[in-house]
């Protein structure tokens, strides 16, 4: 499973992008389950965010959903921070 996260906006307006390929990872199962739950509560179109709030695109195996601060689910928040931290 290929998980990509793109973050745009924010006070600084600086984009960040990272991705994780779970194949061959010992924790692949955990990543996939987290990604599926985060993806399920995403939206098909970008939500109207709040001023200076981050906007996110979560792409799992080529399909994309959207979400925005501060209204993220726990799974979305966890997935986004893990991908941006551990991904390449």
């Amino acid at each position: 499973m290929r998980i990509q996260v793109r973050r745009t906006g924010g006070f600084a307006g600086i984009d960040r992008h990272a991705e994780v390929d779970t194949s061959g990872r010992p924790d692949a199962q955990e990543w996939q389950s987290l990604a599926e739950r985060a993806f399920a509560s995403g939206r098909g179109t970008p939500p109207v965010g709040v001023p200076d709030g981050f906007s996110y695109q979560i792409t799992v195996d080529g399909k994309t959903v959207y979400c925005a601060d501060p209204r993220l689910t726990e799974e979305q928040r966890k997935l986004i921070s893990r991908v941006l931290k551990e991904g390449a």
Partner: protein
């Protein structure tokens, strides 16, 4: 205003919107009534809702004049994301040990003071709205935002960004989003979104200058100075004096802001580049303010404030709509042929925004 049907024409043809705004708040119903109706009718014509939201309280029989003192509360999210978090400092309470809390608290006070002293505005809604801020939001959170009701500040990750309460202009920027929400309510996308961002940078910069007592010539015109971690190559996040020059770093990349319409950036990211193209109206404000000299909040700031709150700026305004209204406001407040009008016209011309 062609459809007033001869009803109270004095308010429709002579009185500028900012005066109407003031009249509408008058305690004497003979004065406030017609002004309020004119503003309402005006706003109905454009399908806007600001007057009803803004005057809902003023119209209530129990309404009284809002206080000249702010009503501030700072909360601590304790590195989680639930808002507002735990209350850590209220109005009238002494500073505590946490410098972040104290900075947020005094930043709220400075913002309240500028809007009141310079423009006679009582808090962000013009009616004494309590000012709430949450600090220590999430972990290593590299951002600050306005959620529609309050300000939220992250601590930064220490590698790229430091604590977002450090620059007072960032605090002012977030609160100014509240002022915009209660007035022109500029849509947060594309050009109206970039205007929304620019309003926050302009008033954020003015709050810093007011606090330091700086003239336009003395000010650094930077947004977010002191926010970048020491390892980052840059001086701030944005420069109103020289958009595009704030940083140039291996990790952050280069400041993408244009200074003129020639370099306007078309993009779908960042809500259509709201933090990018804001460089254009930001630079126009800088040019007008430095041309006029003295304290930037007094003349240039007053003109921008007149437009933001005057009721004619629509929520879908483009740069050119805004620019034309600043020209009109400069003329109405300072007279035809004055240096203010000239400075405003020249500023927009220099950044390539049409005013004719």
């Amino acid at each position: 205003m062609t459809t007033n049907g001869g009803f109270e024409p004095v308010f429709c043809t002579v009185v500028p919107p900012h005066v109407l705004d003031k009249l509408a708040r008058n305690d004497d119903p003979a004065l406030s009534g017609p002004a309020r109706r004119t503003l309402m009718r005006d706003s109905e014509l454009r399908g806007k809702r600001r007057v009803t939201t803004e005057f809902a309280l003023a119209a209530a029989p129990t309404a009284k004049a809002p206080s000249d003192q702010p009503l501030r509360t700072v909360y601590d999210a304790e590195h989680r994301t639930a808002l507002p978090g735990t209350k850590v400092r209220g109005e009238g309470e002494d500073p505590g040990q946490d410098a972040t809390v104290n900075r947020a608290f005094s930043g709220l006070g400075a913002t309240f003071e500028l809007f009141l002293k310079a423009y006679g505005r009582h808090s962000i809604d013009g009616d004494g709205l309590p000012l709430d801020a949450t600090v220590h939001y999430d972990e290593n959170y590299n951002n600050a935002f306005w959620n529609g009701e309050q300000m939220v500040f992250g601590d930064g990750d220490g590698e790229i960004f430091l604590d977002f309460t450090i620059p007072i202009d960032v605090i002012g920027h977030e609160l100014a989003h509240g002022v915009t929400q209660y007035t022109a309510n500029l849509t947060y996308y594309g050009q109206p979104g970039a205007l929304n961002e620019s309003m926050s940078d302009v008033f954020g910069a003015l709050i810093k200058q007011y606090t330091l007592g700086q003239t336009a010539a003395e000010a650094d015109w930077l947004i977010g100075a002191g926010l970048l971690a020491p390892s980052v190559t840059g001086k701030a996040l944005r420069s109103m004096k020289e958009p595009g020059s704030a940083y140039d770093d291996d990790v952050l990349g280069k400041d993408p802001q244009p200074a003129t319409m020639d370099d306007y950036v078309r993009t779908g990211r960042d809500n259509g580049g709201v933090h990018i193209n804001s460089g254009i109206p930001n630079h126009a404000f800088y040019l007008a303010a430095t041309q006029l000299g003295g304290h930037a909040w007094e003349k240039a700031g007053q003109i921008w404030y007149d437009v933001l709150t005057g009721g004619e700026l629509t929520d879908r305004a483009f740069f050119t709509d805004f620019a034309k209204l600043t020209v009109k406001a400069a003329r109405e407040r300072y007279g035809d042929g004055g240096e203010e009008l000239q400075a405003v016209e020249k500023a927009w011309e220099q950044v390539g925004v049409r005013i004719l």
